[in-house]
Symmetry: C2
Subunit: 225 residues, 2 copies
């Protein structure tokens, strides 16, 4: 379902080159539950952005569901993102002037769903992450962990086949974090592919496979026992 | 040094009232090392913003170094913030068009330090958090954990007597998190007051006192054994 071959991502800053991805090969199949771990700055978010069709490598190939991403037009890439992928960003990327409800409705607007059904689904998604009483708050009227949960609800609301979470529990207390992990486990049990970046070993050990990255390379790739 | 008496912070949203702080009494002395813990949305960042003179309560009194904060002018409050407090924000609050170096220099510009000394201190602060090779990157050219470390360096660069950290290790792997905690411990050993909000019990147990908040109230306040 996701195939990365010999991928490089280089940033050129004056005389320096930053090798954010430095030769990555990776194959993730449908229904997997993968945790990506590694030090700060090691390339995890960069890798996630490639998987989410949000960035383009300097070299190497990327296939999603058999399509060579480099051969797709921008419109075709946007369509794959909207139909197949739900993304929880490390920095949330919520729209500041929209309420929690309006933020979570956005992916359903792209899918052409009509307003009454959209609002019902968005409210359900917000209730599932414990924010039923915060639906009309804008991001600045929410705590850090509440903003993170709005970002999670938005990633889940279209029930996408692939869910990408970049540090999805980083701002949550352990009880809220457990509730979010239970949501991901339930989705994986019904067939969604889950890929999470995490700095928390407790979270990583709840996945089925752990991929460890260092300096832009995969140094470990194992099943969770 | 920090005294909070019967503090309330209410937000009015249509017919609803959110009691972000719901009767808080708190006394923190010089040289303490305090961790503030509690569920997402319980009032921790709101409390921290009061301590940092960044917000005004709905009711109750706040004294910093003996001054009644409500009797200070905006200029006097700004002066207290610049001279006494270093703040690591939950959302980092870096200036997007400035480099890491320029972001860390900002508090030194306010203090009137001249350019050569300012740059030297800012570079030292960035090196101390492992970012010596990222000084000319802007926030969008940094990973999430690197942005967090720039925010930490900026809070430390004036060596302020009070350091407030809102989830300062939330985006860091455990090794980087340990290095940051060692910085805070060293500062506390030389006399700085450290107040950290954290969701990580390992981090909280490294403080000397743990304050637990729930629904805008302090429900526990104990020394760490
Ligand atoms: N401007 C606002 N208007 C309305 N409600 C607000 C506003 N700012 C904060 N709140 C509410 O006040 C409560 C406390 O927020 P606060 O940011 O202090 O929580 P927190 O303990 O820091 O949470 P987290 O661990 O998720 O960061 C939350 O329930 C939040 O929704
Ligand atoms: N636009 C850019 N220009 C230059 N360097 C960049 C840019 N974006 C990222 N980098 C660098 O690429 C490296 C990898 O970044 P990435 O965001 O993938 O790290 P990460 O593993 O997600 O880290 P964290 O755990 O801190 O979030 C970092 O060292 C970062 O400084
Ligand atoms: Mg990252
Ligand atoms: Mg907070």
């Amino acid at each position: 379902m996701i195939q990365i071959e010999n991928m490089y991502k280089k940033y050129i800053m004056g005389d320096n080159v930053v090798n954010a991805l430095n030769g990555v090969d990776l194959h993730i199949r449908e229904h997997e539950f993968v945790a990506i771990v590694g030090p700060s700055g090691s390339g995890k978010s960069t890798l996630m952005n490639m998987i989410g069709c949000l960035d383009v490598p300097t070299a190497g190939r990327f296939f999603i569901d058999g399509y060579d991403a480099s051969k797709l037009s921008d419109d075709q890439q946007a369509e794959i993102r909207n139909k197949k992928i739900g993304f929880v960003f490390q920095g949330f990327n919520l729209i500041q002037k929209l309420t929690a409800l309006e933020n979570v409705e956005m992916p359903l607007i792209y899918s052409g769903m009509r307003a009454a059904e959209r609002q019902k689904r968005a409210v359900n998604a917000l209730e599932s992450v414990g924010l039923g009483d915060r639906v009309h708050h804008t991001p600045t009227e929410l705590s850090g962990g509440q903003q993170q949960r709005v970002a999670i609800a938005r990633a889940l609301v279209t029930d996408p086949p692939i869910i990408l979470g970049d540090e999805p529990t980083g701002n949550l207390d352990s009880k809220s974090g457990k509730e979010i992990m239970q949501i991901f486990k339930n989705l994986n049990a019904k067939g969604n592919t889950i890929i999470l970046i995490t700095h928390d070993d407790h979270i990583a050990e709840q996945a089925k496979r752990i991929i460890r990255i260092m300096d832009g390379k995969i140094i470990e790739d194992r099943e969770v026992s």
